[in-house]
Symmetry: C2
Subunit: 344 residues, 2 copies
């Protein structure tokens, strides 16, 4: 197992709240851990249902499903709490990776130095438990690392989501991203305009992101161009509560109508083109998770844009801007471990 | 448009209940009609959201989503009401096909006669509005047509669903099915053991089903054989309210455990194998819509069974039996047109 689930601790929390029947929700990478946890809880007389839907983030807790299924608690594996009201008490179990972040920084010190001295340090929830050690190490090497607090869509300072780069909007020479994949560092580059170096603690490699970001923007301009003559737009929102941006969708629909286009509001849960094929829209705008139009556009036979790209399409904006979902002011950080959030 | 949606009538009903904002839910075949209805309602000052999820039946009304999205009514296109409690007032708009059923019966009279004199007449919701004419015609040709009342999972006498063949469980020489596709007549043959002739009013063709049913049973036995050595079973239920068979799933889990197998309960909305790939189960049992394991099994890389097939697997049943979802006693039939159902 790549991730260790604190089973005893979860059981104790369940006993504290008197939960007898729980739903376990998991992302694709934690399916085996979910099964193992189910096994353990069942041996301890807790009735368990595994949630079969794949979860992509704390923006989509299955608390409603838990209540519907008669469960008195939800266990949400893989993510920390996001500010949402919940229908049943929910235990959030973030998954911290067991790779050594400082080793990867050491290996790439030469490149990191090119960022400058005052570097904004960012990472994902998987590595947040090693942030302090990373900061110490960077300080020992003469850097002045900057940790951005961010808003309440994230759980901790320095944490980025695919839809929120608020922690990087601080002063600094350049951005160090610690984590895997290109989506987060790409978002960082686009959301801040700063130089971004991504250090991957799994592979030990690093990658400069800004050239990638330029290629990305060219691709997005091509999508915008393809939608230029579209007359009828489907503006898609998601019923996943942490992605439900109804007001933003209404703003986009008004913009489109004010500029002589037609637009209809479409609501769904998991957004995919195959479900929409029967409709006759010329183009789509996704006002939900920004990853949908950006990561998945090759599977769409119609142009598919972010709300920000619609502003460009209509001539209301010149510079490319990344679609983010902002939060409010965060009162306190989440614990670096499991946390129980009650209904309100 | 293949189907005519009674737009004015729907608008009137919405005005009667004071609805200002509605969600329109539609099956794949009625997407354009949904758009057209949205256009019409918007022109009449009703705010509209289109539901982007594909709907497969009245077993899955989007009333919860409607409430979540702040709508004060749901319009459910394509199906009549199924006995479920609703979170917002819902207008059910069945879709009646414009093909001529009697013409198709005339064309296939020679084959229909082979069924015998006392024939059980069955059809789907699409053709139910022509049932009376079909009965009259059959009587005029010397038949003694039998119309089964069925239970309250269906809306009208003679109506079959993919999960309910209660209308056919009456006395008669053989079964006449009027409709398209092979799933319903296959279910009729398997649920009753009677000879079934399917007359397709779209193509005008007819097909004897019983040979198909034998081939089908052989395929299902092959699935059962593939699962024979499976140790760990995922027993899958759906959160679609009209498919939520929690007690049946618990019965199956108990049966499996009593016979030395392991079993875990999995809940999801749309059931598909791709979402379950990360789990380590050896085989799956679908305790939801019977079409999932039967129509879709080729997309599963693990054996996938119905609850009834588990009984065969465990040696508790010898004869093949179709998985049905039974209803209770129906108090009255649904109207042959739109109907408004309130929250209770």
């Amino acid at each position: 197992m790549l991730h260790e689930i604190p089973k005893e601790e979860i059981l104790e929390k369940l006993k504290n709240i008197g939960a007898k029947k729980v739903l376990i929700q998991s992302p694709e990478g934690l399916r085996r851990e979910a099964e193992e946890l189910a096994e353990f809880l069942e041996k301890n007389e807790i009735e368990v249902i595994l949630h079969g839907e794949i979860n992509y983030g704390a923006c989509d807790p299955a608390d409603h499903e838990a209540r519907l299924l008669g469960c008195d608690a939800l266990i949400h594996l893989g993510h920390s709490f996001m500010m949402l009201s919940l229908e049943v008490p929910t235990i959030f179990v973030p998954a911290f990776a067991k790779v050594n972040v400082v080793e990867a920084l050491k290996k790439n010190l030469h490149e990191i130095k090119k960022l400058g001295k005052k570097i904004i340090v960012t990472t994902t929830a998987q590595h947040i438990h090693q942030l302090e050690r990373a900061i110490e190490y960077l300080k020992s090497q003469g850097f002045e690392p900057v940790v951005g607090r961010g808003d309440n869509r994230v759980s901790w300072p320095s944490q980025v989501l695919g839809c929120n780069f608020s922690v990087a909007k601080v002063e600094g020479d350049g951005i160090l991203f610690i984590g895997s994949g290109t989506f987060h560092p790409l978002g960082l580059a686009l959301a801040t305009g700063k130089r971004v170096l991504a250090v991957n603690p799994y592979s030990g490699d690093c990658q400069w992101i800004n050239e990638l970001a330029e290629r990305f923007i060219r691709k997005r301009w091509a999508q915008i161009a393809k939608a230029m003559d579209a007359k009828r737009f489907g503006v898609v929102i998601s019923t996943k509560r942490g992605q439900l941006r109804l007001n933003e969708a209404k703003r986009i629909i008004k913009l489109l109508k004010d500029h002589g286009r037609e637009a209809k509001l479409i609501a769904m849960n998991d957004i995919s083109y195959s479900k929409l094929e029967g409709f006759s829209f010329d183009a789509y705008v996704i006002v939900a998770c920004p990853r949908v139009p950006i990561d998945d556009y090759e599977n769409w036979r119609k142009p598919v844009l972010t709300p920000r790209e619609v502003e460009i399409l209509l001539g209301l904006r010149e510079e490319y801007i990344f679609d983010e979902i902002p939060g409010g002011v965060r009162e306190k950080d989440e614990p670096l471990g499991i946390s129980l959030h009650s209904t309100r």
